[in-house]
């Protein structure tokens, strides 16, 4: 089944209570932050806390991600050392601007993996792109490493660099978002959207989820457990979508057995892209738990 990355819950790495509870809200991934949410004088303690949590607590099937500090900050190398030992699923690099940033982190990770006796490539990578340069280099970043499972946009820094601010409809992010999704798709990795910070604006949040889903993103970072359910709801295929997808797959099976190439379902012509989309809907439905595996076809 395809790995779901609809939601990635931010958890400040220096908050023991939140670190302990990170997985109970059932986001697809949790991201322990050692970077922006941790003040300079707490970098060590946050690193230690996240290390202890990852090596002691059982986060079950929830994907664990750690956002490290950049190498330039002076904390990044220590973060990588400790985190490779703690063995999260993914290390997330902030403020990625070019492929070289990834190469550097990758070589540091590889070194630690060797030290620990892990097979090379155990720790996956994710790159956050937060600047115009990073956005323009999105494709080369996305294709820079086999470890990369996804690229994510960090909007706050980006819009500041653009000399603008975030608006309700997100027009200022349209280019960056589209560029990122295209780069991710070209590289065959996940595209992840930025956070929505106004917790009180449920309507605006829903609008944004619909927008990024339509743009092609796989999911979104969330800053509060309350934001998980709406994202999952909107990213989960509806009953109508599933029914239609099943009909498409059924139709194409029948067509194949009749040696006919083109079919119509509910009056719409079904060709290859539609079949692929139907397959993706059913895959997503299975991963989301709304469709039992093996029930893709009505007749099974």
């Amino acid at each position: 089944m395809a790995k779901l990355r609809r939601t990635m819950l931010y958890v400040p790495g220096n908050n023991a209570g939140m670190v302990k509870d990170a997985h109970i809200y059932r986001s697809d991934s949790v991201m322990f932050d050692l970077e922006d949410s941790v003040s300079i004088d707490e970098k060590d303690s946050a690193r230690f806390l996240v290390y202890k949590a990852l090596t002691t607590l059982d986060y079950g099937e929830i994907e664990t991600v750690v956002r490290i500090n950049s190498i330039e900050s002076g904390f990044g190398k220590e973060d990588i050392k400790a985190m490779v030992r703690a063995k999260p699923n993914v290390i997330r690099l902030p403020k990625t601007e070019k492929a070289e940033d990834i190469y550097e982190v990758e070589s540091l990770i590889e070194k630690e993996e060797k030290n620990e006796g892990y097979s090379i490539g155990t720790i996956k990578l994710m790159a956050a792109i937060e600047s115009p340069l990073g956005v323009l280099n999105a494709l080369s970043i996305a294709t820079s490493s086999k470890r990369l499972i996804g690229i994510a946009i960090g909007a706050e820094d980006y819009v500041t660099c653009l000399k603008t601010s975030r608006s309700e409809d997100g027009i200022e992010l349209l280019f960056a978002r589209s560029q990122l999704v295209n780069a991710a798709r070209a590289a065959g990795i996940y595209a992840l959207d930025t956070v929505y910070s106004d917790l009180s604006n449920e309507e605006g949040f829903i609008k944004e989820i619909k927008l990024i889903k339509q743009l092609g993103f796989d999911g979104k970072s969330v800053i509060n457990p309350r934001q998980i359910e709406p994202v999952h709801r909107i990213f989960t295929p509806t009953e109508d979508e599933i029914t239609f997808a099943k009909k498409v797959i059924e139709g194409i099976k029948t067509a194949k057995s009749n040696k006919s190439g083109v079919i119509a379902v509910e009056g719409k012509m079904v060709d290859k892209p539609i079949v692929e989309r139907a397959e993706r809907i059913l895959e997503l439905a299975k991963s989301s738990g709304v469709l039992e595996a093996g029930k893709e076809s009505e007749n099974d």
Partner: protein, 512 residues
């Protein structure tokens, strides 16, 4: 044969009927009626007394007697402190206070106990400094903790004999018809006070709002009341309610609420006509919101709800999802408004609510109750009275009453509080026996009492994360470890009376 006051000849005795008392004049045996007849401007018959001090004299309150108060004004109560101060000034001593509960507003009792004005406490709960002092051995005689239903039973059977009840009422007429719905100190239901009014030897109403006779509807009625005192203020509205209950934003409470609602929906009890009680805590109130969605989706309606009524419950009632509300205590401003306005939001007294020995109490008809816990042990025994430090900090309330009465009793609690596990080998104080608890819901999983195997199967089939309670305990201990046991002294500072009058546990003095 004898001649009565009007000159009629009356036999002194008749066989099969007995002795006969000759009429002795219309006023001879009914001293409380007015003797003057005339126009409307004559002074109206009333029970008003000028001051608390005078009323205490009138009631003939003596050393060693038992007096009672209610806690409908919660943290905003001014009645108990006001009355107790006057009693202390008058030099009356060794009183027993039988309060429906004691709150943050009642900390003055610490001094009254130290100075000998108060000798004993009987209550559902104690909080704050008073609770701490009691846990440290303030009273010579142990405090008796009872449930709301247990208290009603005690009063009705005479186990607690109240000499004088001092009852704050948000509105009353001069003859003693009182309710809690109106006035600046409105508190809604007067359910706990109604029992005292019915059974106390002397009943004193204290109000800041005298209204025209007859005050309708009345919860406490004129035939029960001896005296009325008017004071400036009986309660601080901010302490009486915190306003409208809002649905919590706390993610963990919301998660718990979601899980509880899924347990309810998949338990087999969620069908048209069900009845429910929830507490006033964050997760409980949020459960109501989640349940509403399931009720809408599946077109299911509840016939009635019980309790402790809060705004979200009122909303469901007014929107047609709950037929009737039975209200012993109104938690917030919306509940207070509703009980005054809605025909089927009915005030009930504590005996009707939960007295185990009357001919039928409401908890017995309850399908589902959602309750909280400070601690629960692997036998499902629940503690809601003593904190992780062993100090008293809560109330028995209707916990044990509703747990046994309901068809499905659900405990909702975070598995870990701070650095302490909620599930333990043995709770510090048992308020509710595990044999009356069915399901425990925590953020890390659900446990079903083994005696309810059928519910366990249903919840498992619906995909809910069901574990044994021992597994939940281990999950918690893996994160926070096992707590060091609290060291208590041998001295007993509290007796926990189960609703039937038996002693289910004792609370011991904490060791410094």
């Amino acid at each position: 044969m004898t001649e009565n006051k009007l000159g009629r000849i009356i036999p002194e005795k008749i066989s099969h009927i007995g002795d006969l008392l000759p009429f002795d004049g219309a006023y001879a045996h009914t001293p409380l009626v007015k003797k003057e007849k005339g126009n409307r401007r004559l002074p109206k018959l009333n029970k008003l007394v000028d001051s608390i001090e005078k009323v205490i004299v009138e009631t003939n309150l003596k050393n060693g007697m038992t007096i009672s108060f209610h806690h409908h004004f919660r943290n905003g109560d001014k009645v108990l402190p006001m009355v107790m101060n006057v009693i202390a000034e008058m030099g009356i001593r060794d009183l027993t206070i039988a309060a429906s509960s004691l709150t943050e507003a009642h900390q003055c009792l610490v001094d009254h106990i130290k100075t000998g004005v108060v000798k004993r406490l009987i209550t559902s709960g104690i909080r704050g400094e008073l609770a701490e002092e009691i846990s440290n051995g303030l009273t010579d005689i142990p405090v008796v903790i009872h449930s709301h239903g247990g208290r009603a039973r005690c009063i009705e059977t005479g186990q607690i004999k109240i000499d004088v009840a001092f009852l704050g009422v948000p509105s009353s007429d001069v003859y003693g018809n009182a309710n809690g719905y109106t006035g600046k100190s409105a508190c809604g239901s007067l359910g706990y006070a109604m029992v005292d009014a019915a059974f106390a030897e002397k009943v004193v109403l204290i109000t800041d709002n005298i209204v025209e006779y007859p005050n309708i509807p009345f919860s406490i009625h004129q035939d029960q009341v001896d005296f009325i005192v008017i004071v400036d203020s009986i309660g601080d509205p901010e302490g009486i309610t915190t306003g409208a209950t809002r649905i919590t934003n706390n993610p963990k409470d919301l998660l718990l609420a979601q899980l509880v609602s899924e347990v309810v929906v998949n338990s087999g009890y969620f069908e048209n006509g069900f009845s429910i009680q929830t507490g006033s805590g964050g997760a409980s109130v949020a459960t109501i919101r989640f349940l509403r969605k399931y009720m809408e989706d599946r077109n299911i309606k509840a016939s009635w709800a019980l309790g402790g009524i809060s705004g979200p419950m009122v909303k469901l009632h007014e929107d047609g999802f709950i037929g009737k509300l039975l209200d012993v205590q109104s938690f917030d401003s919306e509940a207070i408004r509703s009980i005054g306005e809605n025909r089927y939001h009915l005030e009930i007294d504590a005996s009707y609510y939960a007295n185990p020995l009357n001919k039928g109490c409401a908890v017995n008809k309850l399908n589902i109750v959602i309750l909280s816990a400070l601690e629960i042990d692997t036998n499902f025994n629940v503690n809601v009275i003593t904190g992780s430090d062993g100090i008293i900090r809560g109330a028995s309330g209707g916990h044990s009453d509703t747990a046994i009465g309901s068809g499905l009793s659900i405990i909702v609690a975070p598995l870990i509080r701070g650095r302490t596990a909620t599930v333990t080998d043995s709770v510090k104080t048992i308020i509710t026996p595990g044999s009356t608890i069915d399901v425990l819901v925590t953020e890390r999983g659900i446990a079903v009492n083994p005696r309810r195997e059928e519910i366990k199967e249903k919840l498992k089939q619906s995909g809910l994360p069901v574990y044994s309670i021992e597994e939940l305990k281990l999950k918690a201990e893996k994160i926070v470890g096992k707590s060091e046991p609290i060291i208590f002294k041998d001295r007993i500072v509290g007796l926990v009376e189960y609703r039937d009058g038996t002693i289910i546990d004792v609370i011991k003095q904490v060791s410094n």
